[in-house]
Symmetry: C2
Subunit: 448 residues, 2 copies
């Protein structure tokens, strides 16, 4: 241990820890020492060492920061514009026509509002899949959150789409003091053709980049793909080489039984992001097959999707809903216990965004992405089973403090790096232009 003062010492908290078999446990009355953005030690009892900053966290639980493994952050600007609609109408009639109005400034404002929401909800890292991603990267740099960013593209853009995605990924990789990691981001197998996917896989290998895309989003997509092309979306990923890369698949509620051996035999690191709230809201017939993916050893990270469908970026809610919907859809109340849900929220989510060795656990050597959760409210008392209290009683609003890379971004519910009233005001001024659908554009068919 260095003789110089630590950067941050958090005292008196209960810490969620993983044992060497990744089982979730809790250490009481612990002290966390942070230096140079890294967790230096987690010890029991008090720590008298000097520190530039100290946080007294008595009555609070320290968890690894949550990771939103699939979102379109700037879409918070569209929160609530398209309600109670089937997926196709939602996208073609409302969301896409509005998205085609989006300027880089709108993306910047949306990303800033989204980061405010996520930091307040205990999210320390998000995987964003959208357009004008330089604007998002700038917001990430400014507000201190961590992000895994990909510039989305369709084959309808021609090769320029793919090239722009690669250029962004190479240029921004490691930006914001290393808090930004990047990915190639083809939209989906039904909007990016096989040749383009194969070229993407080739670029991923050549440049050591991962791939983040939508695939097998719902059962309809899988069945339409089978009927039209004789292969499932997952089989398209195999034949184009995408499954030989490190790939993050968004949703996967349309993963079929025949896809399971395909996923098992993938030579790349495959992960899936689940955003269960939206599947309920769109009335999709299935959810992500978390149990089958678990049996294959494929990590499933938690996500919210964009707020235009999910209405929030509340990953805490995704954790609770994943537990509840897994019980309900498998018919097994013993499946997906609170500890399993916490495993998804921590190590599995970190792995899904390629940060499995970097964040996702409060342990020496990991980056100091930590949230402090207050359990003194009447809705979280008494505590008979801390894992259950966290998953089923606590809410994102119980996160009091959010720390990324050792820097405090929210303290006692106060955001330190984002001015919410200012961004809400600026976004409000742009709303009439944003919502204008008079142009009649419906350029991207959201269809297989």
């Amino acid at each position: 241990m260095s003789d110089s003062p630590a950067d941050l010492i958090i005292t008196g908290c209960t810490v969620l820890v993983h044992d060497d078999q990744e089982r979730i446990g809790f250490e009481e009355n612990a002290t966390i020492v942070v230096r140079d953005g890294v967790i230096e030690s987690v010890i029991t009892g008090a720590e008298e060492a000097e520190a530039r900053q100290r946080v007294d966290a008595r009555g609070q639980v320290a968890l690894p920061g949550l990771v939103n493994c699939h979102t379109h952050a700037p879409m918070v600007a569209l929160r609530g514009v398209a309600e109670d609609l089937p997926t196709e109408e939602w996208f073609n009639d409302v969301v896409w026509p509005i998205e085609s109005n989006l300027t880089e400034k709108d993306v910047e404002l949306g990303a800033r509002l989204a980061c405010a929401e996520m930091i307040r909800g205990g999210v320390t890292c998000f995987a964003d899949h959208y357009f004008s991603m330089d604007a998002v990267a700038a917001v990430v740099a400014e507000c201190g959150i961590r992000a895994h960013l990909g510039e989305a593209y369709f084959s309808s853009q021609g090769p320029q789409g793919r090239e722009k995605s690669l250029e962004f990924a190479l240029r921004r990789r490691g930006a914001a003091d290393g808090r930004i990691t990047t990915t190639l981001a083809p939209h989906a197998p039904y909007t990016v053709d096989d040749a383009d996917l194969a070229a993407t896989a080739e670029l991923a290998r050549e440049h050591g980049l991962p791939v983040h895309l939508h695939a097998a989003e719902n059962r309809d997509q899988a069945e339409t793909s089978l009927a039209r092309h004789g292969v499932t979306p997952i089989e398209v990923l195999r034949r184009t080489g995408i499954l030989d890369t490190d790939v993050l698949i968004a949703h996967g509620t349309g993963i079929l039984d025949r896809d399971l051996p395909v996923l098992r035999d993938a030579t790349g690191r495959v992960a899936v992001a689940t955003a269960p709230r939206g599947y309920l809201k769109f009335a999709w017939p299935t959810t992500t097959p978390v149990r089958a993916l678990h049996d294959l050893g494929i990590p499933v990270g938690l996500a919210t999707d964009g707020a235009a469908s999910n209405n929030s970026l509340d990953v805490w809610e995704s954790m609770a809903l994943t537990a509840l919907i897994q019980k309900s859809t498998t018919g097994d109340p013993r499946w997906l216990t609170s500890r399993q849900a916490l495993h998804h929220a921590t190590l599995q989510s970190a792995r899904a965004v390629g940060l499995g060795e970097t964040v996702g656990s409060i342990a020496p050597g990991r980056r100091a992405d930590i949230i402090l959760v207050d359990l003194t409210g009447p809705h979280t008392q008494p505590v008979h089973d801390l894992a259950a209290t966290l998953v089923h009683s606590a809410r994102s609003s119980d996160v009091r403090t959010t720390i990324v890379d050792g820097r405090i971004l929210m303290r006692d519910r106060e955001l330190l790096t984002i001015d919410v009233p200012a961004v809400v005001r600026e976004l409000g001024e742009r709303t009439p232009a944003l919502l204008d659908r008079g142009h009649g554009r419906r350029i991207q068919e959201y269809d297989t």
Copy 2:
């Protein structure tokens, strides 16, 4: 209007209102005037009249207070003791053995903690179905919330159970300055025999009391009842005369198609309380058939059940989950819109607990049970569709102020009538005795 000062004036808010066809609307920049616990007027613009108390509610939305239509409030003491278990093990192996330790003091402390949680979550009235209900009534009187209370009984208690329930209902009816209404509370058709249910129906008619009970809780119960007795639980309610009373049925996820004409032909006022979180957690195969009940004109109120199963008393979450689960189970994203969810949360919930003319709407003449919801947080901005913002983006933690009968019980998130740390401390001291299952009692089979 009286010349004397009003008791309370709330200014500058947006008010949820119902039109003469009960459609939900919003009046902006409104002022609500309260006198003698009653809403005197809702007007647009400022109101210069004098008032003993004024609340500046700019940026906030005033809603009718939420009603928790079915709970066992004192069971918050057991929050998290029995996790990830099937219903029978949950009840027989853990919950009932612990409940048999409960003293009147435990019930009092549990009820106080529950009221704190509910007031903080915007709940202004709860329908409680439990034991030692005098202790609950005393807490209700003390903390200022509204409640609809019933002393539960089983036939295994002999006629004394029913008599005690009646005696409680008559003695406490209209207590706490009229905030307490009462009900007869047989446990369920599988724990209360037909003769006892028939006697209950008779007492209800004789004394003008309603009946609140569990029935057709899940599909298993309905099928077991059919196999053993040749009738469904709902048909048991008909043949015993319970459906000729004003009856509140908890859960009803086991209501079968053959029950629908039975419910339609009921001569009493029938309502159902839905607590969807617990159905997911127990992995029950169905949820409350809200759409079929809607088509029969039967109100469905929102509920949480007890926190030993649901892990919280968060009615706001029940509102969101009802919308989501209805979409998912009917396969129709257009069914149960946000406005419909708000109708369940307001007038339908008020009707379910027999207060359809008294609360459930912010309108002159109704009791002043009002909550103020802050929508300035980043997770609720921008507001393109206020109903959707309330149902799908806002959370119970966004309730800033809770008012019952014109009295402020929580102001700016601060509880004014309950000392949470004191009740948590007292409850903690009793936990070892409460959780002791060494006695081996499993006296009440939770079975049909």
